[in-house]
Subunit: 589 residues, 2 copies
């Protein structure tokens, strides 16, 4: 039941693979330099391993509870949140002007991975605050920023995102919550929101809800949605807490996982709120914080995958079954080739997803801080391209890896009491929320690839080819072999990309039918690219990191990358087949 | 929450693809002829859909409960079992001499698929009886058969299999339960068994436990294990029930799924038992019933997958989100290409697994009933070859498809109340029990492929090539395309098989490292073979079955079959990579 943050690997990936050193060298992050990365991660790792991880299984059993007094969090969570707050982790990547530390987002995301890995239910509380903070930074007035940001960034308060209603899930524009002007600059918000993560709790004195609602004269659909800030407790002009607002949690969902994260049905009954940004631009404003929320969910997949790996590895060392050469008596199952294969699969896929997510994080930082406008635009394009992959590929990976963790445990893995089983249940939500993985695939294929004619992906493909060339030029047989696999995989992704760009214009339905398979391929190839880059970079590192990265890249190359060329047909060919199938299978003409 | 047995597709697969008509034409199944297949499946489908399916979700919530009086099954289960018993389903494929109907096993297995699909927790009770009946048929004395078989075959009693102990899971030979001769031909059995499915319950008056234990002078390990029959209630010579035996359930496991199936910790405290078969041959005797138990578990994967598909399809018709061409207002999500892709993936994979399982079933029937010894041996080799694939590929598929079912449901799929969520939890056990899927892969690669030098797989590969040829010779463009994919996939499986045969002799550890990937490839190719055969056979059927089978085969060909050639490297290359990785990743030298 222990979780140990993989600090060495994280620091290596951030610095040597995702470009954090170059980022810090821009001087845009105050006095933070690259040598601080390790110690910062160490310190966060202690919080994750020593404070949050021990609460994970008990939190699953106890869950959050709805009382007359609002939602009570699981035992220990309030104290742990206090520790998180006092250590200042929330502010790591937010501006000093609002009480933060102006560090790189990529580093803050690495810290979030640890928190999710140690205790995903807990991690959701700060994760939702991220979104609220970003919305206010981007779209809040100076007064709003001054009133709310310092205490969100200090983690003294948390934030939430209120989008979903029963009839409005993926189709956010179908929402019905109303916002009526009070005449004093505030609005009366009324309606019901569902699936609101940490919508109510006792971790903090106040909760700042960001709520999508419709103004009285708003157009129908997604063009008539505005964004409002609704505090749980109204804040007086002097900053002190005032009256209780007319918003409350009226129900908690019973879920198969993340039991300690209260998933609330929220009722707004003429609650007082303030418009954030422009009228009827709520959806666009929400989207500005989507990138980071989606990337954060991707890191949930990575964190839970890492935890599942660690748990399975530990179990495989302890559980003895059967014999193995060189072992007296019953051998730990780690000695069985098939168990090693499962563990290696888990580790390789976690590492690939982590690299994708970290690289997305540094792209987000560069999009803000690079020297030239051109460089910033290029970084933004990279962030935009990678975000749906970071979200969807990593969370699908999280489910797959958690399932392998169950399998390594055998019968024990099916028992409620086992952390492996909890991780399997917890992991399952991540492909669903913050935009289902199907939505991510459509976003990638449509907005991120087809819309710019494949340019951003083309840049990525060039990098992939360069990585393969670099690996080949080492003349080390293992790296040369990996380079061959990567080259072929990159060509496959290139072919699929060309098809996608063309088909999105000529036959959108066929293009969309291939979107999920396209995203899966892109994740495999880009993940393999980063693992290859890791293996090359690790040649300068000490023994175990060097051989470990080489082994993971090698394994990934022979499995995922080797499969890539054969997967193009599943993208390009399935649209027609699906169309033919529609009537026969589904009664659609 | 409805389950409708897919009777038409089942009958088609059994008769046109798995060879049931030819089997019945042997005349070895009494007066059962092919025209009865449909009506029998219809009748079983009613039990599944009308009696068992409505208990599935309530059973998940209520679970089985341990009381001072033993285990109480979930509400309604005892009555449903009574209906199952009275309809005579248990005896369908067992000898008339013992009260059965001497029908084909393949047909009984199709019935079991329905039962598992409607209510997997329920299905486990008869499934375990199957094992006990087969052990007695094969190894019981005439007296034992007379005393126990009629009431097991009538389903008046149930049977269990008691193998696992805390230190003896996959390594059954490590068990410690003792059997001491009482001097009167009976034995006193003492020890603790865990994970005993339906080990105690109130469905029937008596339970016949089959228990692995050690005689006092037994050799260590798996060569010292004997099989015993231990009734819950001792049976008097006249067949009446006598004293309560010293065996009881002392605990129920809390599991993430199949809550209505009691998973018991059983304590044997000098319980009276009788040896079945020979001393110290218990493991071998158990293995004679393993094939059918494993195939039955494979059908759990198929049944749960089918249920997940039906549930997701229904939800996709009802849930409206977003717009679609030709639909006014919000469109059912079924209209979105990505949802159709998920549903088609689910359906194609379920159908492929079903075909593999049914073909394994007819092979088992032919192994017993074919005219010539040669034909029986060939059928036995086919049954042996397909069994681990039927078990592992189908149950991995069950988890994958149930997970897709969750995804189609979006946020609703993560809610405890949703059947989709229950199916996802239920499905997860099937890759673990009756020999983990890793064990199945080792069984396939070692005992079934390498041991005979690849002969049985070679025969399968020839059939695959013939199926491809037949499809090509139709000159229908879609079938020709499928044929090309199947041919290439067959060649890939051939190459992997040749490597496996050679490597199991020269480098066993590398061979075993590739075993799971080999089984996955074999399942894909053989599943694609059966789907291709289905598409060809369905040309003679009515519209929707014909176009549906063609569409499923086409989709499977462009996805799974097209990927097959790229997956050989993951089998042949990963052994070396894993070996290199062992020290770096796992500290093994």
């Amino acid at each position: 039941m222990a979780y140990t943050a993989p600090v060495e690997e994280m620091a290596f990936l951030l610095r040597q693979v995702a470009g954090l050193d170059e980022l810090l060298a821009t001087g845009k992050f105050g006095d933070m330099d690259a040598d601080l990365v390790g110690p910062i991660l160490e310190e966060a790792g202690k919080l994750a391993g020593e404070v949050l991880a021990p609460l994970n299984a008990p939190g699953d059993k106890a869950g959050a509870q709805l009382t007359d007094d609002g939602v009570k969090s699981a035992p220990g969570f309030a104290e742990a949140y206090q520790a998180f707050c006092e250590a200042g982790w929330m502010g790591l990547a937010f501006p000093e002007a609002h009480g933060g530390q102006s560090g790189p987002k990529a580093l803050a995301l690495a810290v979030m991975e640890m928190i999710h890995g140690a205790n995903m239910s807990f991690g959701l509380a700060p994760m939702l605050s991220f979104g609220a903070i970003e919305a206010l930074l981007e779209h809040g007035t100076p007064e709003q920023q001054e009133m709310y940001l310092p205490r969100l960034i200090s983690a003294e308060w948390t934030g939430t995102m209120n989008l979903t209603e029963p009839q409005a899930g993926s189709d956010v524009g179908a929402l019905k919550t109303r916002a009526v002007p009070n005449g004093d600059g505030s609005y009366a918000i009324s309606g019901q929101k569902i699936y609101i993560t940490w919508g109510d709790h006792d971790l903090t004195e106040n909760i700042i809800h960001l709520v999508l609602a419709r103004l009285p004269d708003a157009p129908e659909g997604s063009r008539g949605v505005s964004l409002f800030l609704v505090p749980k407790i109204l804040v007086n002009a002097d900053g002190s807490l005032g009256e209780r607002n007319a918003v409350r949690c009226i129900g908690l969902e019973k879920k198969i996982g993340i039991h300690a994260s209260p998933t609330c049905v929220m009722e707004y009954d003429g609650a007082t709120g303030w418009l954030i940004g422009e009228e009827n631009k709520g959806l666009a404003h929400m989207f500005t914080m989507m990138n980071s929320a989606r990337l954060n969910v991707g890191l949930e997949g990575v964190g839970v995958g890492e935890a599942a790996y660690q748990e399975a590895f530990q179990y495989a060392q302890e559980r003895k079954q059967g014999s193995a050469p060189g072992v007296e008596g019953a051998a730990p199952i780690l000695h069985h080739a098939d168990v090693r294969r499962m563990l290696t699969t888990m580790r390789a896929r976690v590492m690939a997803a982590r690299a994708i997510c970290f690289a997305t994080g540094t792209a987000a930082d560069l999009a803000e801080h690079a020297e030239t406008g051109e460089a910033r635009a290029a970084a933004r394009a990279r962030e935009d391209l990678l975000t749906p992959i970071a979200k969807a590929w990593s969370t699908d990976m999280g489910v797959e890896v958690a399932s392998l963790g169950v399998q390594v445990h055998g019968g024990m893995g099916f028992m409620d009491e086992t952390l492996a089983a909890q991780l399997f249940r917890d992991a399952r939500i991540a492909p669903i929320y913050e935009g289902t993985n199907g939505i991510q695939a459509i976003d990638l294929a449509g907005r991120k690839v087809a819309r710019d004619g494949g340019v951003a992906m083309g840049v990525m493909l060039q990098e992939i080819a360069e990585t393969a060339r670099t690996a080949r030029e080492t003349n080390e047989p293992q790296l040369v072999q990996i380079a061959q696999r990567l080259e072929a995989a990159g060509e496959a992704l290139g072919a699929a990309t060309a098809w996608m760009v063309e088909t999105m214009a000529s036959d959108k339905d066929a293009a969309l039918a291939g979107a999920t398979a396209y995203l899966a391929l892109a994740g495999d190839v880009i993940g393999g690219h980063f693992l290859t880059r890791s293996a090359v970079a690790a040649r300068g590192e000490a023994g175990r990191l060097r051989t470990g990265m080489l082994a993971l890249a090698g394994f990934f190359a022979e499995t995922s990358l080797a499969e890539a060329p054969g997967r193009v047909a599943g993208i390009t060919g399935s649209g027609n087949v699906l169309r033919e199938a529609s009537e026969a299978l589904f009664g659609l003409s």
